[in-house]
């Protein structure tokens, strides 16, 4: 380990001939970031571009010879495909409900655990359990033990108040609720962790000042705490949208998209179209639409959320 020199008196780095130094600098920089960037281009950027390209072809995996360039033909077909439009709609509702619910619940939970209490460390650790559990396993547990029609926990509990619970996973509209419940349960801890850390970073004086000024608890939350967390909230919402809009495992395991395509989100639609029916071009076109929808939603939220933040910081 190198000895530490007092920084104030530390001279700048040894002087070298400028040409040599810039070449060395370039090699250094490439040595550090080059491999990662190359790897990401190969495994991520190339597939994305490939998907965009493939979406312009009429292309079946098992009939490669019949591949034909049809420009935007797949997209035109998508616009009139009821099953696809249903998937867009399901994705929209699914993502909106799940993101909103997790944002509210996670933030509430963070506010609840803000003041100290005995066992806070353990509670924090336990609250993250849903997020780190393998989603396939969590979904199987919910499906088998909790939502099961005849021997599941939920219908057994409902029985005490005289309600004969439905066959949750197999019937409409309950199946959609089950995947939402599991998704919300799975992702609330994520929001909780982020908001909890953000709350901890707030300047205590500001909140205390509002308290002295006579603001009640909810007033402080609404007018002092949440506005200060606005940037965090905007970025968390964006993260949440990207995660839920691509959700696959919970739905694939719980319902497989059924009943009657009630729960067939876009990811599942692409999976079925491109990897079950092997319509590579058509399926990829749906994937590109999903990617554009997610991008547009994130951009819109960033613009709305942060423009507001900017105006606020200018006016104060």
């Amino acid at each position: 380990m190198a000895r530490r020199a007092p920084s104030a008196s530390a001279p700048s780095r040894p002087h070298r001939a400028p040409n040599h130094q810039s070449r060395l600098h370039w090699r250094e920089t490439f040595g550090f970031i080059g491999p990662a960037l190359l790897a990401l281009v190969v495994v991520a950027l190339v597939p994305v571009l490939w998907a965009v390209g493939a979406s312009l072809y009429d292309w079946h995996f098992h009939r490669p010879a019949a591949r034909a360039f049809i420009a935007l033909g797949n997209y035109v077909r998508l616009a009139g495909d009821q099953r696809f439009l249903n998937a867009v709609w399901v994705t929209l509702i699914y993502t909106t409900v799940s993101v909103s619910a997790t944002m509210v619940l996670g933030t509430l939970l963070a506010l609840l655990t803000k003041a100290p209490f005995p066992g806070k460390g353990v509670v924090r650790a336990l609250l993250t359990v849903p997020m780190i559990m393998t989603p396939v396993v969590s979904t199987l547990v919910w499906k088998t033990f909790f939502f099961e029609a005849d021997q599941g926990l939920i219908n057994w509990l409902l029985g005490f108040v005289g309600i004969a619970g439905p066959a949750w996973v197999a019937s409409s509209p309950y199946a959609f609720m089950t995947v939402l419940v599991v998704n919300i349960w799975f992702m609330t801890p994520f929001v909780y962790l982020v908001m909890d850390a953000a709350l901890e970073g707030l300047p205590g004086e500001v909140v205390d000042a509002a308290k002295i000024d006579g603001a009640g608890y909810w007033q402080r939350v609404r007018f002092v705490i949440l506005p200060m967390l606005r940037a965090t909230i905007v970025f968390t919402v964006i993260f949440r949208i990207t995660i839920d809009a691509r959700m696959f495992e919970i739905i694939h395991v719980m319902t497989g998209g059924g009943p009657a395509r009630d729960t067939e989100v876009l990811t599942l639609w692409v999976y079925n179209a491109a990897l079950r029916s092997f319509h590579l071009g058509y399926g990829n076109a749906g994937g590109v639409v999903l990617m554009l929808l997610v991008g547009a939603a994130c951009l819109a939220i960033m613009l709305v959320g942060l423009r507001d933040l900017y105006r606020r910081s200018v006016s104060t």
């Binding site: 190198a2 995996f61 033990f145 909790f146 850390a197 970073g201 970025f235 993260f239 694939h252 590109v288």
Partner: protein
Amino acid sequence: MSGRTRRRLAEAARLLAIALAVFLAVLPLLWVLLASFKLPADVAQLPPRLLFSPTLQNYRQVLDAGFASFFRNSVIVTLGAVALSVGLGVPAAYGFSRLKVPAARALLLFVLSMRFVPYIVFAVPLFVMLVRLRLVGTHGALIVVYILINLPLVVWLMKSFFDDVPTDIDDAAAVDGANRFQSFALVVLPSAAAGVACVTILSFIFTWNEYLLALVLSGRAAQTLPVVLTRFLGGMEDPVRWGLLSASSVVVLAPVVVVTLLVHRHVRAGFGGGAN
């Protein structure tokens, strides 16, 4: 009601709400853990039997079903993917934090944007490419593909950890004659060790739990545990098989749950740093 009583009631309500949240958070884990030790006669009983004679029969069946080889697949793929992503991502994060990178903002945005692309968009092209290369069902293919899940996370989180290390120590190392690589490996990296622990654990969790890419790309030979679990348990609607379902679930969960609860501090650090 006096102010003091009201405050006490509010505090009691708060603690009750927290307790309820914790209960809901851990209920599925507790349930499946208990069920994995139950005999078929006990496993579907409601109210759930908390006192029962535990059995290891379910775990024995899981072993007999060849779960060990799938567990091995998961371990190989996860360790390989974590090593590769951390090995590539940590130096890159150092570069973005300490060196003058041309177009650094654009490059960082590119890295981050790859994390926002829905995985299914990657999955279809990668499937076609790997089929052509005859690499579907190899551990290596999955290890490389998982770069796209982990690398953006590693680069972004590690950059914020490196940014927190004061540049004074770089200067001190330079004075002592350390070259750039020595300065990185011997001085700055040790100061950001908590960050390395954090990104390693998060990559580990995400890779171990990943389902979609594994389902599409792992073929028969490299199936990881989440994929096997869903294929292996056809007919699990039958309560007789619920014990087996539980035991295999616990086998899948054990590594992530144990690791996370042991080093929870680092997991938490990741989310605090990641969104701020």
